[in-house]
């Protein structure tokens, strides 16, 4: 929005070109990957596989939505993956021990919120760099999850738990409903409330926001808490899909989430971006991984390729900023 406003005449003359220039990398990646896979791999453009992709990106999208708000404040949360793993382990242990489901959900949400509170406080109040703080809590969350299960998986979950992944409501799978719900909630928060406007403002010009007399810290902390809570909720889908909770299952998820956010056009600077792009970004990462699987590229290469995609996307974003 801001960029198009800077060149009103250009936009009038070449709206399509301008739109293409400013479309996030995710659109291109998705279009190219989609076309390539449809033409070359017969298994890709089938209802079964596309549903599979949608189910696979549900967890990623939910986590990436929280990550978007965090990155909009010029922050980052490297701990979201391990926090998701810890929430899954904590909730599963409670359920296996016989506690009712609502209590387990409550516990997971509290764990996610506590890590968000810890991260947010150290970042917003103390002023420590986000990647250092969340790298520290990364280690803490991963360790606690491993200690809780002594390195094993939590198995023997009751059969109803699988509903979080396998359930179908009004012909739409539950994870897709959950993704819609998370998107709608985040959309309302970001574009319909004071909190949302402050999220953009914290990234855009934190100093100005402080000078208006706003209690910036509270909103800044709330962003990290929201990210943690979304990760906690996503952990149920993840656990149901695996039919087990493993302490390190979430490690690396934060990496895909960051990739989705950046590919979706959210910039690391000045609070530019939004959550619609993130959904496309998550789809692009999901299709990329799915496509690499279909073509027969091993997980080892996938790790390196997604790393390369992140760097390329950020480099293009930085080039584009230099040009405009």
């Amino acid at each position: 929005m801001r960029e198009t406003a800077a060149h009103p005449q250009l936009v009038e003359r070449m709206p399509l070109l301008q739109a293409a220039l400013h479309a996030p990398g995710a659109f291109y990646l998705l279009a190219i990957m989609g076309a390539f896979l449809t033409l070359w791999t017969p298994g890709f453009f089938t209802a079964a596989n596309l549903t599979n992709v949608a189910l696979q990106v549900a967890v990623l999208t939910i986590v990436a939505l929280g990550m978007t708000l965090i990155i909009l404040t010029e922050g980052i949360d490297l701990s979201l993956g391990p926090v998701l793993g810890l929430c899954g382990v904590g909730a599963s242990l409670m359920i296996v021990a016989g506690y009712p489901l609502p209590l387990a959900i409550g516990a997971a949400v509290i764990i996610g919120a506590c890590f968000g509170l810890l991260n947010g406080t150290l970042i917003a109040v103390v002023g420590m760099p986000p990647f250092i703080v969340t790298l520290g809590s990364f280690g803490i969350a991963q360790s606690i999850a491993t200690v809780l299960t002594q390195g094993d998986s939590v198995v023997n979950l009751p059969s109803y738990f699988r509903w979080f992944n396998d359930g179908v409501f009004l012909a739409v799978p539950v994870p897709i409903w959950a993704t819609f719900a998370a998107f709608a909630a985040t959309w309302l928060l970001l574009y319909g409330t004071k909190f949302g406007r402050y999220v953009f403002a914290i990234g855009g010009n934190r100093q100005a926001l402080i000078l208006t007399g706003t209690r910036v810290e509270i909103y800044h902390i709330a962003v990290y808490v929201y990210g943690g809570v979304l990760a906690a909720l996503a952990s149920f889908i993840m656990t149901a899909r695996m039919n087990a909770a493993h302490p390190t299952i979430g490690v690396g998820l934060e990496f895909d989430a960051i990739a989705a956010v950046i590919l979706g056009g959210t910039s690391f600077e000045k609070g530019r971006g939004g959550i619609a792009g993130t959904v496309v970004g998550a789809l692009a990462v999901g299709v990329l991984r799915n496509g690499l699987n279909l073509v027969g590229v091993g997980t080892e290469w996938q790790v390196a390729i997604v790393g390369l995609v992140i760097i390329t996307a950020v480099a293009l974003d930085s080039l584009r900023r230099l040009n405009t």
């Binding site: 360790s143 390195g151 960051i258 290469w301």
Partner: protein, 326 residues
């Protein structure tokens, strides 16, 4: 040199209170740890354990040395552990097949190449350091997995193992290497053009740019050096543990950052130094040694590293150290 010496004397004489807090708190932590461990474990104050701790600290220092220099410029290198892992895999594979020279060269070159890539992305691509090196982390991990295909390499020749497991005059060779590295890097930081540029860029990048410093070239050199040092550390590590696999580098990032934070180097650059990281590495090695002696499960290791990072930076901030720009 005499000018250098007088400057140093002036700096110690007029040490600001925040630096004083950092130095005093680290020495206090060191003394407390040694006292507590001597009481808690009868095995702690033995020569064998002392050698063990010093060797561990030396390895830790080598892994954190390159990172320190990057952090001094106000950047970060999240890929240090992953680059070390990749270099270790490549060189261990070649050395175990008998190509000693190629193995050593491959470790240094792969480290340098990854570091150069980081440097290009950060200095010329203007990509935030934490995201460029985070991408590189996964690229290096991925290449390591691809290269190793899940295998473990072990059994390196004795001549090579000397640099990790050998002794000279009763001192472990890694300790001697670490001391040499400490001296070289200290001189580099305090008596060369590059060293001055590192502090200048970290302290005030705008002023550094306005004074005509070739910032891009200097930053490229810094990240390349960090990669190269990861390659050097990789050689000593595989010589010490006599094995390598693709997961080697996974758990090395948190300790490296913890050593730098414990060493009192500002995460925003410009303040701190390599000697601090040496002290930080000794403290870290003592903590790990203490946990082992007290029988704490290794599952806790990551939590301890995370807590050390958070607590040491928080303490410096609350202790009045201007480590963090508000």
């Amino acid at each position: 040199m005499s000018v250098e010496a007088s400057q140093l004397a002036a700096r110690i004489g007029h040490l600001p209170s925040d630096r004083l807090f950092v130095i005093v708190s680290r020495l206090a932590a060191l003394a407390l740890l040694i006292a507590a461990l001597s009481i808690l474990s009868p095995y702690f104050l033995t020569w064998g354990n002392f050698i063990n701790v010093m060797r561990q600290a030396a390895l830790q220092f080598m892994m954190a040395a390159g990172l320190t220099i990057v952090v001094l410029t106000g950047g970060i290198d999240l890929a240090v552990g992953a680059i070390l892992g990749l270099a270790a895999c490549l060189s261990a594979s070649l050395i175990s097949q008998g190509y000693l020279v190629f193995g050593v060269v491959s470790a240094l070159l792969s480290g340098l190449a990854c570091g150069l890539a980081n440097g290009v992305l950060v200095a010329y691509g203007r990509i935030p350091a934490f995201i460029a090196t985070y991408g590189m982390l996964w690229i290096a991990h991925g290449l390591g997995y691809v290269f190793m295909k899940g295998e473990v390499i072990y059994g390196l020749p004795d001549g090579f193992r000397f640099i990790g497991a050998g002794f000279v005059w009763g001192i472990p060779v890694p300790v001697l290497i670490a001391v040499a590295l400490l001296v070289v890097l200290h001189v580099l930081l305090h008596a060369t053009v590059l060293g001055r540029a590192i502090y200048a860029i970290g302290g005030n990048p705008t002023a550094a740019r306005l004074s005509g410093m070739p910032i891009e070239r200097r930053l490229l050199a810094v990240y390349a050096l960090s990669g190269l040092l990861s390659g050097v550390a990789a050689l000593v590590v595989i010589a010490r543990i006599n094995a390598a696999d693709s997961s080697l580098g996974e758990d090395l990032l948190l300790p490296a950052i913890a050593a730098v934070c414990l060493g009192g180097t500002s995460l925003f650059g410009g303040v701190g130094g390599i000697a601090g990281t040496a002290i930080g590495s000794v403290i870290l090695a003592l903590i790990v040694n203490g946990l082992n002696l007290l029988g704490v499960q290794t599952f806790w290791q990551n939590a301890v590293m995370g807590a050390i990072i958070l607590v040491s930076v928080l303490a410096d901030q609350l202790g009045g150290a201007r480590l963090i720009r508000q």
